[in-house]
């Protein structure tokens, strides 16, 4: 489903260059779940944004579902992002003037789903992340962990086959965080491809594959034998 070859991502910084990613080769099969770990600044979010078609690499190629992403035009890219990929951002990126319900329903508007169906599905997702009673709150009226859960629910709204989550439990206590992990594992068991950036070694141990970055490079790629 995903093939990265020789991926590099550079940033200009004054007259120096930051090599956020270098020489990354990565293949992810349809239906696979992997955790992505590494020190702060090692390139995880950068890699996830490339996978999510939210950024372009400086070097290398990215094939998604057999298509070379660099050859897709703007409309095709927007369709991929809207329909194929659910992205949970590390900084949430919720719309500040919309309620939790409206934020979660937004991907369904792009998918052309009717208003009543959108609201029902959004309410259902918010219930799944424990926020039904906060659905009419705006982001500023939510705790950090509640905002994070709204971002998670939004990523799942269009029922995408590929879920990319950037530290989805970073602001959650262990109970609520555990419920989110269970939700991600459940989505995986339903056949979705799931990539989760985390610092939680416990979560890494529960997934069948863990990729570790160090200074922008793949440092380890560990597969656990299935039980």
């Amino acid at each position: 489903m995903i093939e990265l070859r020789g991926i590099g991502r550079d940033y200009a910084s004054g007259d120096a260059t930051v090599h956020a990613l270098s020489d990354v080769d990565l293949e992810i099969e349809t239906g696979e779940m992997l955790t992505l770990l590494g020190p702060s600044g090692s390139g995880k979010s950068t890699l996830l944004h490339l996978l999510g078609c939210l950024d372009r690499p400086t070097h290398g190629s990215y094939h998604l579902l057999g298509r070379d992403v660099s050859r897709l035009d703007r409309n095709q890219l927007a369709a991929v992002r809207g329909e194929q990929i659910g992205f949970v951002f590390q900084r949430f990126h919720l719309m500040p003037r919309s309620t939790a319900l409206e934020n979660v329903a937004l991907p369904l508007r792009f998918a052309g789903v009717g208003a009543r169906e959108r609201r029902a599905r959004a309410a259902d997702l918010l219930r799944r992340v424990g926020l039904e009673d906060r659905r009419h709150h705006r982001p500023a009226e939510l705790s950090g962990g509640q905002q994070q859960r709204v971002a998670i629910a939004r990523a799942l709204a269009a029922d995408p086959p590929l879920i990319l989550a950037d530290e989805p439990t970073g602001n959650l206590d262990s109970q609520v965080g555990g419920e989110i992990v269970d939700l991600l594992l459940e989505l995986h068991s339903e056949g979705r491809t799931v990539v989760v950036i985390t610092h939680d070694e416990g979560l890494a141990a529960r997934t069948e594959r863990t990729v570790r970055l160090l200074d922008g490079r793949v440092f380890a790629d560990e597969r656990v034998a299935p039980d």
Copy 2:
């Protein structure tokens, strides 16, 4: 140093009321360090904002260093916030058009410190959190964990006697997170009063006192016997 009596904080939400905090009594001695834990949405950030004089309670009283905070005028409050308190926000709140160095130096501008001294101190703090080579980056050019560390360095810039940190390691891997924890413990050992919101039970176990919130109320207040 800190006395909260009968503290409540309500929010209007539609025609309902959210009781974010209710009946909170809390005393914190000068030089004490405590961790503040509780489920997502239990009122931790609300309590920290009240302690930091960034918000006013709906009910109850707050005495800080012997003074009733509700009786301070705007200038006195600004002075308290600028000179007495270092606050690390859960969502960082960095100035997007300023570099890491400028962000960290900002509290020192308010304190009237000269430009050269400000830059030297800010660079030193960024070195302490491992970001010297990123000091000229703007927040958008930093990883999530790097932004968090800039927020931490900024809170320490004016060398405040009271440090309030809202989940300062939520975006950090265990190594860098451990360095931040060591830094906070070191600041405490130098005599500062430190309150840290965390979900990390390991950190809670290392501090002499842990207060736990549940649904806006103090659920537990545990002191560990000193070794």
